[in-house]
Amino acid sequence: MHNDQVKRRAVVGLVGNPNSGKSSLFNALTGLRQRIGNFPGVTVEKKSGEIALASGVGVELVDFPGAYSCYPTSLDERLVVQELTNPKGDLFPDAILYVADVTKLDKHLLLFTQLRDLDLPMILVLNMMDVIQETGLQVNVARLSRELAVPVLLVSAREGQGLEELKTAVADLLKDPAKYRPEAPFYEPGARARDVLADLRQELPARNDYHALLLTHHASWLRHIPEETRHLVQQARVRHEFHSLRAQVEETMERYNTFEPIVRDSVRFAGDQASRSERLDNILTHRIWGPLIFLAVMFLLFQALFAWAEWPMNGIEWVFETLGTSVRATLVEGWLTNLLVDGIIAGLGGVLVFIPQIAILFFFIAILEEVGYLARAAYLFDSLMQRFGLNGRSVVALISGHACAIPAIMSTRTIANWKERLLTIMVTPLTSCSARIPVYVILISFAVPKETFWGFGLQGLAFAGLYFLGIAAAMLSALVFKLVLKTPERSFLMLELPEYRTPVWRNVGLTVWQKVRTFVEEAGKVILLISIVLWGLSSFGPSQRMAAAEANAARINQELGYTGEAAEDVLASERLEASYAGLLGKAMEPVIRPLGYDWKIGIALLASFAAREVFVGTMATIYSIGSVDDELRIRERMAEEINPRTGQPVYNSATAWSLLIFYVFAMMCMSTLAVTRRETGGWKWPAIQFTFMTVLAYFSAMGVYQVLS
């Protein structure tokens, strides 16, 4: 096929409906040899991996997003059509593994017949052979293969059965792609479509009639169709009164009529009795019990999250503290050592300390997804979400947002309606992500006394309250956006509720591993960079001012008779005030004074706009405490801080509450803004997101401070 081109490695596409077990098969075939990137031009996550066939030839396996048909309604599905109708594209597969759930073959063959009519070399992979024994389902593989004219293989991605046979079949198909070419298409375009095609057949870069038909349907958004061709297509469609939706319905009905008898002849489904899943759903999706169980599950999830994450987090902190101390002890003192210890090691520690929480959260989310519960959650809350302009599927993003807004925003791709998707993206960062946790922890101790009320710790209640505040703010903002934005687009729920299954632990493990890696790579870069910049800004300043500060510190130390550590602390805080960071903080002090903040908090806020988890680290730098993550010591130092204007402690409960509210609402994460830009295709929405959240934060914090002080 590609003999005339530069030899490239063969690309094998993994295609199938959502919930066909496609990703499980991908994981089973590639294991840890997966690469994650983006499909060209869009942000849909592209997973690919190399697999070695029996012959020793390596092929690239690309996991395409799940799609129901060649008539896409979501970004994910569009991508499949985009790549499979573009023979010149890099990802155009040399062969397709079409994955279908054997228990849903009567639905999953729709896309199969469409791709078959595109004349793509295919293997039909019937997944879930493990349920065949359980349910008494019978499949005549030979007959299916004969009638569909493709190789048909039974596998179980869950149990890893049939994979070797599959690799052999792929090798055979790649060796001789023409062997299984279809003799006749499953579907012949109708009269009206034929007229349009007669006009356009020469103009379109199409391999056959069905390919041309799909290009006619989708020319307006397919990236590989040039502008002039789009015009021609549009004119021809108008001339022949080609109605895309009507043609789609006709085609789909005809396809069902064609393959339904084939399925009926080769597959015998077990009787239609209420399955175990349905009995479970009697309770889990019950009108009253359903939402209550959901809330209980979430409550337990976050309890476990905090309980389990504490130990490894302490461990990571300890490692970086020790590392910092020993580096300082070994290396000669100087700015390079300071950069290494206070900038890089402290910054790295600040990133890695979140790994336990992110890992545990994704562990739970992956399990809920694998089990099939997330689809139920979307069903339970769709009605409620609709009132706020969101979609049931937004629930998934809003839950994931409590770990990190970045993957949460990426998970909105399954929402077909642009407005619902946009709203979800816009409000998800208001949910309290794990980066806010250290900030909450340290500030709540100033805001709320350590007392109990009816057996509940007040501080714990405040913590829960902040989470709730974040969710409420997200929902109400969505409501405002809903009233402002208008869209003519179709909105769907139409959600499959797949059978409950025990999770495939390989899939759970791979998800956790990939999410953690993405976090370290993406967020880590930013946080590390900020730590270094911040270290630079707070270590250097105009030389005259720095000299004056040092002299001043020496004078104070002499007057008070400080030596050793205490003297160094005085010197450090004087130097900070004279540094560039100090100048910046002082410059913004008038703006933040109504909120109850001084210039030192100003520096921390400024640094937090890059990433809010920087707050604690910045506080440590500002209050010149050697180890970054020692919250107790930072807390002591903050408690000692006196406001020179009032003579009162800076961190009274009004300031602490004001800061807490600010951190709940403010958009302080550059990585999230970058993801929003990628997902919305421009700077407009991230700019709006940044502005509305920051304005909300500023005025809410001001209100809180003015009321409390």
């Binding site: 789909t252 899943s277 349905e278 009108r287 069903y379 009605s383």
Partner: protein, 77 residues
């Protein structure tokens, strides 16, 4: 309990079932067909969702969640 003659599925309560005859909304029909809801399928309404406007339905052997307006365009005989 069977559905009376040709009615939109949205008018029925939990427990009722019937055979899908046709769709009245082209916008939704394409997508419904894609996910396997098609004329000739047996539709059964299992229950309604907590806050009202969604339904848990069973189409042939598979469970789906559909919104009110999605059910409204499905005609049952």
């Amino acid at each position: 309990m069977p559905f009376p003659r040709l009615t939109a599925a949205v008018h029925f309560t939990a427990g009722m079932s019937g055979i899908i005859d046709r769709f009245t909304n082209e916008d939704l029909a394409g997508k419904l067909l894609d996910i396997g809801v098609r004329p000739g399928s047996r539709l059964r309404i299992v229950r309604s969702s907590p806050f009202g406007s969604c339904w848990y339905v069973k189409i042939d052997r598979h469970c789906l969640a559909l919104r009110k307006q999605e059910l409204a365009c499905i005609m049952i005989k």
